[in-house]
């Protein structure tokens, strides 16, 4: 019974790592896109990201299924059930990060005025890199069973929240210097939505860190200090 259970858990972790790598690939592609500053996003990049997104969705369903099967067949307990449950929560968050990544591409293609984007790009890029780092470290915390990385992720959320607040102020002050018009308004609104999505990516990284703490320590620290 334990051999089959261990094999099942091992398979789940392998597929989890595949899904996590796909999500990280999406974030790396977005980082390049932001770094280049070019809008709209080139077609080949969009197609690559769409393909990755389909893969992420498929893996989420597959891992879901495997987790449920493992619980039914092997009745895992103690650290095994905590790991499975944490994994179950984490893949939901990874799938949402994947969705937000696709949203960001679509937002970029809706920006009508390059000038506005250029003025805010530095802050957008910095905020994105911060969120992306949080996702990477939170995933690593689960895979490597590293408590410190999970704590770092959870505590770094305030940094990204602060960037979001500063971004709003910057958007308002930038608006005053740019000529009003429909395209201008659409661009500002789109950028604000984009920044909110980046902030949500950071929130999901926090959820991953909290799930890792549950796996490692059996403590549910959601809504509490770690």
């Amino acid at each position: 019974m334990t051999i089959k259970k261990d094999e099942a858990l091992s398979k789940i972790m392998d597929e989890f790592e595949s899904m996590a790598n796909k999500v990280l690939e999406q974030l790396d592609l977005l980082e390049h896109i932001f770094a280049s500053g070019e809008i709209p996003v080139i077609q080949s990049r969009m197609e690559q990201m769409d393909e990755n997104e389909k893969c992420i969705d498929r893996l989420e369903m597959k891992i879901d299924d495997r987790i449920i099967q493992s619980i039914v067949l092997y009745q895992p307990v103690a650290s095994d059930i905590r790991k499975l449950f944490a994994c179950f929560r984490i893949i939901t968050n990874l799938e949402r990060i994947g969705d937000y990544s696709i949203n960001l591409i679509h937002f970029l293609n809706r920006i009508k005025q390059q000038e506005i984007y250029d003025q805010l790009l530095d802050m957008i890029y910095t905020m994105f890199v911060s969120s992306s780092q949080m996702v990477k470290k939170s995933i690593l915390s689960f895979v490597k069973e590293d408590r410190e990385l999970a704590i770092w992720t959870i505590q770094n959320d305030v940094v990204v929240d602060e960037m979001n607040r500063k971004m709003l102020k910057k958007v308002i002050s930038t608006r005053k210097t740019i000529e009003e018009g429909k395209n201008s308004l659409i661009s500002f609104i789109t950028i604000k939505e984009m920044v909110d999505n980046i902030e949500r990516i950071a929130d999901h990284a926090v959820n991953i860190g909290e799930a890792t703490i549950y796996f490692l320590e059996g403590r549910d620290i959601r809504h509490n200090e770690p």
Binding site: M1, K5, Q75, V77, A78, S79, I81, R82
Partner: protein
């Protein structure tokens, strides 16, 4: 104080430094633990860890053997039962064993009240009838056997026989019911019925059972006690122990690293 042992306030049964030795070999070592009233406690551990030895020590069964020594205290509702006549102990603690063992020459009726007969306690017919009906009702066997009370107990199925044995234990209205792997010889449906019965019985009795079946312990017990090589390693609420055990040995046992 071992921080891995949950402290129970006002336990109905408590063991203090209980040690059982077969000649010089200690099979149970300095076990101190309290059991909460009206709960189900599962004693778990790998083969040879001392689970059944502990259970039999609580019921003072080892006194039948010269080479087994038991030291320590067993306090039941404030009374040290190690100083009590064993007959009195057995009235306050009923025991059920792995293989159903109704007395083969006795009817179902006589099996239930066998304890009274064997102890020379005379009862009126009405009193006997009441005890038999209540005990068999408590184990949800009454409806199945009420029309064949005077058939031999051995005519029943394995699961029914085990329920009869539990009824026999309940006939004295004990405070504690001790069960040593009560379902390991039964089929899954009979096992399920016994498990449901134990969950129902805890409303009126305190139940301590030894089990090799971790899933069973998880299903029906409120508290779990893990033993290893004669030591009490961990004792806690079942849901806590099964999700986040404190001791590495408990973790390894529950996750199948050894067993």
């Amino acid at each position: 104080m071992n921080e891995n042992i949950l402290q129970i306030t006002d336990p109905v049964l408590s063991l203090h430094d209980l040690t059982v030795a077969y000649d010089t070999n200690k099979a149970v070592k300095n076990v101190s633990v309290g059991f909460r009233k009206n709960s189900v406690t599962a004693i778990m551990g790998p083969s040879g860890c001392g689970k059944s030895t502990l259970l039999r020590a609580i019921n003072r069964m080892h006194e039948l053997y010269e080479n087994i020594t038991t030291t320590g205290q067993i306090i039941l509702n404030g009374t040290d039962i190690t100083q009590m006549p064993t007959i009195q102990v057995r009235r306050r603690m009923g025991m059920v064993f792995q293989r159903p063992n109704p007395f083969p020459t006795m009817s179902i009726y006589d099996n239930v009240i066998a304890g009274y007969k064997l102890n020379g306690i005379r009862l009126k017919k009405g009193e006997k009838d009441d005890i038999v009906e209540k005990s068999l009702t408590d184990v949800t066997l009454w409806d199945e056997v009420k029309d064949s009370l005077f058939k031999r107990g051995t005519f029943l199925s394995g699961g029914q026989q085990q329920r009869l044995c539990i009824a026999r234990a309940l006939a004295f209205s004990p405070e504690i019911i001790l069960l040593d792997e009560p379902t390991s010889a039964l089929d899954p449906i009979a096992t399920s019925k016994i498990e449901d019965l134990l969950v129902h019985l805890k409303e009126n009795y305190t139940i301590i059972l030894v089990t090799h079946n971790m899933a069973q312990a998880a299903r029906i017990s409120d508290y779990s006690l893990f033993m290893y090589l004669g030591d009490l390693v961990e004792y806690d609420k079942t849901k806590k122990m099964f999700t986040n055990p404190r001791d590495r040995r408990t973790e390894e046992y529950l996750t199948g690293k050894f067993g």
